[in-house]
Amino acid sequence: MIEFRGVGMTYPSGIEALKEIGFVVDPGEFLFVIGRSGSGKSTLVKLLTCEERPNRGNVLIDGYDISRIERRYVPYLRRNIGMIFQDFRLIETKSVYENVAFAMEIVGAPGKLIRRRVPIVLSTVGLKDKSDMRPSELSGGEQQRVAIARAMVNNPMLILADEPTGNLDPGNSESIMALLDSINQRGTTVIVCTHDSSVVDKMRRRVIELEAGRIVRDDRRSGYGTAPELPGETPAEQPEEPPFEEMAEEAERRAAQEKVDA
């Protein structure tokens, strides 16, 4: 569970990015954080990854206050958070396989496990045949899928996506969000910061809207514009074992169905 408790953040320049915000994200929930540029979305992401520390309040993950965490433990926290960025942030000199594998190498996973899991995860995102290619040889959508594969390969408790469709066309945006949705269906908490109204409207999940650093809306099942709050659903429980094999099989079934339809 993620909890923001009276969190306020003012940068050294004097800009007050967040003003005493508070909300709770249940395990397995899918949350959109929307708002205009400068509303505080990126600051919220930075607080979750401990890139910044709040001046007031607390940020808790599973009851542990990460806003007071010692600097040397921050990498271990980030290993439980899969980050997805607008600009993909893949390492250009590594292949697709290596970009995903190094996330496992960093946590000290044995070589055998890496060689077994990475191809499965790449199958899940539909890029198994492009393992040896470099990021520059892929399309934007494919690069973002590699980023998603890297984010999920260590089975994190939270996927945090900061404008994941910002550099993508509508078609690719939809497939990326479908992928995030399927990850969430398996029990991983997903938080997406975006100002892409189309994906928010289509998916109709919980929406927190920020404006000038304050929460102005928190709707359980909503679109980008104001909508009446509907009763929320109980989020799926997170399974104990990584469901990568099932996800890969489902991805292959979906790919085969698309071929038949075509």
Binding site: T49, E51, R72, P75, Y76, L77, R78, R79, M83, F85, R89, L90, I91, T93, K94, F102, A103, E105, I106, V107, G108, A109, P110, G111, R150, N154
Partner: protein, 296 residues
């Protein structure tokens, strides 16, 4: 850090060296050039010190025995010279040999020595010392040996040679220090460029959960490898150049004080200095440069 994580980090350093060939080559070339300069200066300094030392040993000290000294007395003086730790070598001359030397010095006027009684001359020892700075101390020691009548020491010459050696030592130390600082600065900058070119990669690794140590280990290893290769390259160039120099100049045999040091002694010293310098600067420079980029 877990052993598997450490192995992954080491493997990463090997991959990075291959994956960034231009930066690797540029770093290696810069380090090799700077270490070549350091090596040249080390070789020059070694030779200068040796020549200065040998020059100091050229100035002789003349030891004269008592007039009409017995064989046993002369043997006693000779034994004292053989046992003295400051003596490099000596040449013993009898009164007859000394008379002959006087005749040669006089040249055409040597006739004035016709009928001269050679027993009026004494035995002499032309002594070469290991260290000209020890001249006065040697004089004090040998003057006390029974049978020694007189010791001639050219103090101004000795002082000059001693002063020369001190200047050569001091100049070498200052030169190596200055060259070392310049080399350190240039190599560090090159390493910084190499790290900066991968700043984005470092920040991505931080977001994914890499610890500072995991990020630093490959750079330390890469820096050390690049430094070592640069050192070996510099040493190889210097080895070839020095051996060519020895052949082409055809300088006097090693026993004279103008001779250059043999290749084996110079090359080992240069290799040692270059390797230590290259390894230290390469790895430490990398660590210090990476620190600036690991704060995400």
């Amino acid at each position: 850090m877990k052993p598997t994580t450490f192995r992954h980090a080491l493997r990463e350093s090997g991959r990075n060296l291959v994956r960034h060939p231009v930066i690797t080559l540029a770093s290696m070339t810069t380090i090799a050039l700077m270490l070549l300069l350091v090596g040249v200066f080390v070789a020059f300094t070694m030779n200068a010190l040796t020549i200065a030392q040998k020059a100091g040993q050229q100035a002789p000290v003349q030891v004269w025995s008592d007039y009409a000294a017995s064989d046993a007395t002369v043997a006693g003086v000779e034994t004292a010279l053989q046992k003295d730790a400051g003596v490099l070598s000596y040449v013993k001359k009898s009164p007859a040999q000394n008379l002959e030397d006087f005749r040669k010095q006089l040249g055409g006027r040597s006739g004035v020595l016709d009928g001269f009684d050679e027993s009026l001359l004494s035995w002499s020892f032309t002594v070469h010392l290991k260290d000209p700075a020890e001249g006065q101390a040697f004089v004090d020691r040998i003057s006390g040996v029974p049978g020694v009548r007189k010791v001639d020491l050219s103090l101004p010459v000795m002082d000059f040679l001693e002063s020369l050696m001190r200047w050569v030592y001091a100049g070498s130390a200052v030169g190596i220090a200055m060259l070392g600082v310049v080399a350190l600065f240039i190599i560090s900058n090159m390493v910084r460029v190499a790290v900066y070119s991968r700043a984005e990669e470092i920040s991505i690794m931080k977001y994914v959960g890499a610890t500072n140590l995991y990020i630093r280990v490959p750079f330390i290893v890469e820096g050390a490898v690049v430094g070592a290769f640069g050192a070996i390259t510099a040493w190889g160039i210097l080895y070839g150049a020095y051996s060519s120099l020895l052949e082409s100049l055809a300088l006097p045999a090693t026993s004279t004080f103008l001779a250059l040091l043999p290749l084996s002694s110079v090359s080992l010293a240069v290799l040692a200095v270059d390797l230590v310098f290259g390894l230290l600067v390469g790895s430490i420079g990398s660590v210090l440069s990476v620190r600036r980029h690991v704060r995400v």
